[in-house]
C-alpha cells in the first residue's frame, strides 16, 4: 500500500522490483540501472519526507504497515507477562499491559492495541479503549508503584471509544481518574506516542516524566476530520484542520508538550520497522535509567512542574 504523496517513490520501487526479478544474468548495464534507480529512490524518499505536510504525517501515523504495539513488544522486550482485567468490569482488548523487560530493565508496559488483520482490529475495537481499559491501566500502574517498577506507556489510539456502554461505565471519569492518579505516582513514567495520539483517549495513559514521540506520529486535541467538521463545517477540510491544529512532533516539542523525538528512518517506520523499534527501545531504556536515579519526591515534583507550566496566556490590563 502506498500513500498519495509517496506514489512516485512507489512507482520507482516497483520498477526496481520488476528489474530485479527479470534480470537473472546481472548484465553490467542492468546492474548500473538498478544502482541508479536505488539511488533515485533514496533521494526521492529523502526529499518527500522532508516536505511532509501535517496531513501527510497523519497518513503515515495511520499507515497499515506501521509497527503496532505487539510489534514493539516483540521487538523490544525479552519478556512480556501480560496481566489482564480491571477487576471490576472485564478485560479490555484495546488496552493491554504487563510486566516487561527491555534492555535488561524490568518495568510495567501498558499500551493500546490496534490490530492488523480484520479479526484483530475488531477484537481490539480498532484501538479505542473502553473505561475498563483505562481502569486496567491504572490498576497495573498502581501495582508497578508498589514494587518500584518504572512504567512505560505506549500510545496509539484514534480516541477513547465513543459508545453507549462506554458512557454508562464512565469513560470521562476513567480518563480523569488516570490523569489525577498519574500525577502522583511515585515511580518513573515514560510515555511514547508511537502512532496516533487521539485526544483524551491518548492522554488517559500519557501523563509522565519523559514524553517521547516518534518522528511521524501525531498527537492532537481532536482528530483533524472532527475539527474540520465542526470549525469548517466540512470533514473534507481535514488537511486544513491538520495544518491549523499543529499536531506533528516538531510543533509539540516547540510547545513543550513532549521532551524528545524518536527518529524514524526517511520513508517512515512502515518502510523500516526494525530500525524504528530499535531506536524506540534505546530511547525508553535511556530514559528509564535516567529517571530511576530521581527520588520519588523529586520525580513527582518535577512531573507536576512540567505539566503545570504548559500553557500560553497573557496578563491583560483591564
Amino acid at each position: 500500500m502506498s500513500l498519495d504523496f509517496e506514489k512516485e517513490i512507489a512507482d520507482v520501487e516497483k520498477r526496481i522490483a520488476e528489474l530485479s526479478a527479470l534480470d537473472k544474468s546481472r548484465s553490467p548495464k542492468r546492474k548500473a540501472e538498478l544502482t541508479s534507480l536505488k539511488r533515485k529512490v533514496k533521494s526521492m524518499t529523502k526529499k518527500v519526507y522532508s516536505e511532509l505536510s501535517p496531513w501527510d504525517t497523519v497518513q503515515i501515523a495511520r499507515h497499515a504497515d506501521r509497527p503496532l504495539l505487539r510489534d514493539f513488544i516483540d521487538g523490544m522486550c525479552s519478556e512480556f507477562l501480560e496481566l489482564h482485567g480491571d477487576r471490576h468490569q472485564g478485560d479490555d482488548k484495546a488496552m493491554i499491559g504487563g510486566f516487561a523487560t527491555l534492555g535488561g530493565q524490568r518495568c510495567m508496559l501498558i499500551g493500546m492495541v490496534k490490530g492488523r488483520s480484520v479479526e484483530e482490529k475488531v477484537e481490539s475495537n480498532f484501538g479505542m479503549p473502553n473505561p475498563e481499559g483505562y481502569r486496567k491501566a491504572l490498576r497495573l500502574m498502581k501495582l508497578a508503584e508498589r514494587y518500584g517498577l518504572p512504567i512505560v506507556c505506549m500510545v496509539d489510539t484514534p480516541a477513547a471509544y465513543p459508545g453507549r456502554e462506554a458512557e454508562e461505565r464512565g469513560q470521562a471519569e476513567a480518563i480523569a481518574r488516570n490523569l489525577t492518579e498519574m500525577a502522583a505516582l511515585e515511580v518513573p513514567i515514560i510515555v511514547v506516542v508511537t502512532g496516533e495520539g487521539g485526544s483524551g483517549g491518548a492522554l488517559g495513559i500519557a501523563v509522565g516524566d519523559a514524553i517521547l514521540m516518534l518522528r511521524y506520529a501525531v498527537y492532537s486535541v481532536i482528530p483533524p476530520e472532527g475539527c474540520a467538521a465542526i470549525l469548517w463545517r466540512d470533514a473534507a477540510k481535514a488537511a486544513d484542520a491538520a495544518d491549523a491544529l499543529k499536531i506533528t512532533a516538531d510543533s509539540l516539542l516547540e510547545f513543550g508538550v513532549i521532551d524528545e523525538i524518536v527518529d524514524e528512518p526517511a520513508g517512515g517506520a512502515h518502510r523500516d520497522p526494525e530500525t524504528t523499534i530499535a531506536a524506540t527501545q534505546e530511547a525508553i531504556v535511556r530514559n528509564i535509567k535516567k529517571l530511576k536515579r530521581r527520588g520519588a519526591k523529586r520525580l513527582v515534583d518535577q512531573r507536576y512542574n512540567k505539566f503545570v507550566k504548559i500553557g500560553r496566556f497573557k496578563h491583560a490590563r483591564s
Binding site: A160, Y161, P162, G163, R164, A166, E167, E168, R169, G170, Q171, A172, E173, I175, A176, R177, L179, T180, E181, A183, A184, S199, G200, L203, A206, V207, Y219, S220, V221, I222, G226, C227, I230, L231, W232, R233, D234, D240, A241, A244, L245, K246, I247, S251, L252, F255, V257, R303, Y304, F307, V308, I310, G311, R312, F313, K314, H315, A316, R317, S318
Partner: protein, 279 residues
C-alpha cells in the same frame, strides 16, 4: 446559547416584547419576570437554564465576600489558529466583548454561609466554556491557593470541552488541572465538583468528574462524547434521558442532584462534614 430565543417565540407578540418566554424543557409559556425570580428555573418543569458566572456567584457566595483571583489572565493565540470562518484571535476578542470576561472561568475566594472557600465558575457564553491555557492556569492557581490556605475548592463546570483553537495545549490543560486536584486529594482538602449544563469532553474527562463529591444540577447534559458522535459510531438511537444528570446518577457517577434553589445550603452542609478543623 440562552433559551430566550426569538425564533422559538416567533409570531407571539408578548414573547417578542420579552414579556414571556418558551421553556425549552416543557415548551410552556412562562412570564420572564417569574422565570427570573425563580433563578432561571422553569416553575412548571424544573428546567434549569444556564447561568452567567455573576448570577452563579450571587447565588452561592455571601454578598460582599467574593474576592476574584487572576482576572487579568487572558487568551493568546499560540497556534495562530485560523479556520473556515475566521481567526481564533477575533473569536476570543468577540467573546471578551460579549461577556466582559478574559477567560471562560472566574475564580476567587468567598464565603458560603460564613465558610471561606475557593470557588471557580465556568461561563458557557465564553467560547462554549471551553478549556484552554488561561482557563487551566486559573483553575490550577485556584487549586494551589486552596491548598495553601487549606480551604475547600468548589468548581462549577459548564463546558463543551477542550478549546480546539489552542490545539494540544488545550488538551494538556486536562493533565494540568488534574495535577492540581491530585495535590488537594493528597492533603485531604475537600474538592467539590458541580456539573451544570453542559459538561462534556475534556472537562468531564478531567476535573469535573473527580470531585470528592460530584454534584449536578437537574437535567444537565453531562458526558464524554457528544450524542451525535455516539449515534454515528454505534448506529443506534440512544435513550431520551441519555447523558442527563439523572442518567449519571443512575450509573453511579454523581453523588446527588441538587436543585439550584438548594445548592448553597447543600454545599454548606457538605462542607461541615468535610472540615477536619471545625467540628
Amino acid at each position: 446559547m440562552g433559551w430566550f430565543t426569538t425564533s422559538s417565540t416567533k409570531g407571539d407578540k408578548n414573547a417578542a416584547k420579552g414579556l414571556f418566554v418558551v421553556c425549552p424543557g416543557c415548551k410552556s409559556h412562562i412570564f420572564e419576570e417569574e422565570r427570573k425570580n425563580n433563578l432561571k428555573v422553569c416553575p412548571k418543569c424544573n428546567h434549569h437554564d444556564r447561568l452567567t458566572y455573576k448570577e452563579r456567584l450571587d447565588l452561592i457566595i455571601d454578598p460582599g465576600t467574593f474576592r476574584e483571583f487572576n482576572s487579568h489572565i487572558s487568551t493568546t493565540d499560540p497556534l495562530e489558529f485560523v479556520d473556515g470562518k475566521g481567526s481564533y484571535a477575533d473569536k476570543a476578542a468577540q467573546a471578551k466583548a460579549k461577556t466582559g470576561m478574559n477567560e471562560a472561568i472566574v475564580t476567587g475566594s468567598g464565603n458560603i454561609n460564613g465558610i471561606r472557600v475557593v470557588i471557580g465558575v465556568m461561563d458557557f457564553r465564553f467560547l462554549g466554556g471551553s478549556l484552554a491555557s488561561g482557563t487551566g492556569e486559573k483553575i490550577l492557581l485556584a487549586a494551589e491557593h486552596a491548598l495553601r490556605m487549606k480551604r475547600a475548592f468548589i468548581l462549577f463546570s459548564a463546558s463543551g470541552g477542550a478549546r480546539m483553537h489552542e490545539g494540544i495545549i488545550s488538551l494538556m490543560q486536562m493533565a494540568k488541572t488534574c495535577a492540581g486536584i491530585s495535590k488537594l486529594n493528597k492533603a485531604n482538602i475537600p474538592y467539590i465538583s458541580v456539573m451544570t449544563d453542559p459538561t462534556f469532553g475534556g472537562v468531564s474527562a478531567s476535573y469535573a468528574t473527580v470531585g470528592d463529591i460530584n454534584l449536578a444540577e437537574p437535567g444537565a447534559m453531562i458526558g464524554f462524547a457528544g450524542r451525535r458522535v455516539i449515534e454515528q459510531t454505534i448506529k443506534q438511537k440512544l435513550p431520551k434521558d441519555f447523558q442527563t444528570s439523572e442518567y449519571l446518577l443512575d450509573h453511579g457517577f454523581v453523588d446527588a442532584i441538587v436543585n439550584r434553589s438548594e445548592m448553597k445550603d447543600y454545599l454548606h452542609n457538605v462542607l461541615m462534614y468535610c472540615s477536619r478543623k471545625k467540628a
